[in-house]
Symmetry: C2
Subunit: 335 residues, 2 copies
């Protein structure tokens, strides 16, 4: 489907589900961006789930969002259980606005939901010339080090910075070996997942995505990854006022209440301490790109470079929609 | 040796090497803390290197440190090639001071050196009731993803937060599978290193610490760890005005100039967005501690808990000093 047509269709669906025009566009843009950067696990594959949660009254289509200015740098947002994209969109916007004024913007969002790709928000700050750190928590998927039950989400860490090139530096790394969306999508499409990324509920390695979803995902690097996931849970859950400590509800099969996910954004100007940031980052990237490469590697890419390339290519093409997801979209379009 | 006697001895050594009394105490405290928390790789094993760099005129014993207030929240520090502990000590102090005033403190330090354990600085913020993120870069030890030459340091990520208990939550994780100090200490003591943490210069796995130091350390989680190391290099090097992109000199064998390491500290009040932070973090920790444990695990510990316990135990005992390190200390004490 052409990007424009797909956007119109998704906006129409969200309007059917009682979102405002403005919010529908925010949601459509975020979902389509995920498709365009080559992360379909965070794109159309999730549309049904967002709509389903609205239908089950655990996402609020008409949120009364409260924005509280704590200082010129610090803002607190209560997203009133809006679709996650909406609270996150406001969060990064206010963080950028505050950073423009004071050099640093610090924004917490609570009562939000799954906000898609962290990199989407970091990238927007970087494209406007700012450095960003974004944190968000997620439903249980990873067992804390020493435990045999999941509690942490895949809790991504996102860091974005202007690169001096069109494609900003955007690191968006989950704390699991692979992201949960990829496992969900594999389950949806009947595909296998790689070995070594998950255990079934009995603690045995599995390549079956459904068994993995019922079991545990493995954190990167044992206690280090577990510690980083815990850090993200504190930053985005404990500190923001959102759910934390395993209380974030699964968006796909827990309709007992809103997710109440939290997001935390730290945004600042890159030229606070140096007057030649762009020259410095370009020198940094150049040095790394010039290193001798391991066999088979043509070019060393910085985080975000590949995604930007995919975005450019995919924006000119039609978006491929798998059959079963197209069926969901058509169903949703009927209202 | 008793802690008090050891401190007096180290202070005397730094005084011999022309540091001020105040700076000598800052350095002695940092080194002894590393011993007490059970991280001797960052303790006395490094004393000789600091003094040697002063002797070779690549550490400045009489720095004229410049502290520039950019706003009530933001401070820039030029450490004038002081021992790393001194710039970092000022950095975290100013970040805490700024956070006290405005809610958030943001401090960059440049022209600094190896500052020991990141957790030491994070912990101090947390003990005073603040949340802290600390970043610092380091000499080349890890190859960027796709490269076959080292460039990134082991670039630790540190996150600290009050826990409501005596021991704060302090995550201090390097991006390498094990920290470089442990490899150096093994080399010094003639011990082996574990398998799977390093390659020799020909790219073959090795358990020989000297071969590992000449070769590559492996990052955690492949491109994820490589991306996190790159993030830390940008945050603490590119943004602060310090060396970056592989230009940080090795403290042990490169005397062609100062290291010019950078540090970045983000410190904030935990109660900005909630009015019951301590209750929330205690609930968070409680939920995780109550999870069913894997076989052999008695208790799930949060990051920093074990270190605090070791600190408590070790503070009551004499500090054990390996023979060859004691010989170095005695040599340094002669002046």
């Amino acid at each position: 489907m052409r990007v424009k047509d797909l956007k119109n269709l998704i906006v129409k669906i969200f309007l059917n589900f009682k979102l405002s025009k403005e919010h529908s566009i925010v949601c459509a843009d975020a979902l389509i961006n995920a498709e365009l950067v080559g992360a379909p696990s965070h794109g159309l594959a999730r549309l049904f789930s967002y709509c389903n949660r609205i239908k089950k009254k655990v996402i609020n289509p008409k949120p009364k969002i409260k924005i509280k200015k704590i200082s010129q740098s610090i803002t607190s947002i209560d997203a009133d259980n809006a679709v996650g994209f909406i609270g996150a969109d406001l969060g990064i916007k206010h963080a950028i606005k505050n950073a423009k004024k004071t050099g640093i913007g610090f924004v917490a969002v609570k009562n939000s939901g799954h906000y898609g790709l962290s990199g989407y928000y970091g990238e927007r700050a970087a494209q406007q010339g700012f450095v960003a750190l974004c944190f968000t928590n997620a439903p249980p998927a990873i067992a804390p080090h020493g435990a045999k039950k999941t509690l942490f989400g895949t809790n991504p860490i996102c860091f974005a910075a202007p690169s001096g090139n069109k494609a900003p530096f955007v690191l968006d790394t989950s704390i699991s070996v692979i992201n949960r969306g990829k496992i969900r999508r594999a389950a949806k499409l009947g595909e296998k997942i790689p070995q070594g990324v998950a255990l079934d509920k009995n603690g045995n390695p599995t390549t079956n995505p459904r068994k993995a979803l019922d079991g545990l995902q493995l954190p990167i690097a044992g206690f280090r990854g577990s510690g980083l996931a815990w850090m993200v849970d504190i930053l985005s859950g404990v500190i923001t006022g959102a759910n934390h400590g395993g209380k974030v509800k699964d968006p796909f099969d827990d309709f007992t209440g809103p997710q109440n996910i939290g997001h935390l954004f730290i945004v600042f100007k890159p030229n606070l301490f140096v007057n030649n940031y762009i020259k410095r980052i370009q020198e940094n990237i150049k040095r790394i790109k010039k290193l001798p490469k391991i066999k088979g590697v043509k070019e060393i890419l910085y985080p975000g470079e590949n995604k930007a390339l995919r975005f450019k290519i995919n924006s000119k093409k039609k978006i491929f929609i798998p059959k079963n997801i197209l069926a969901e979209i058509n169903e949703l379009n009927k209202g």
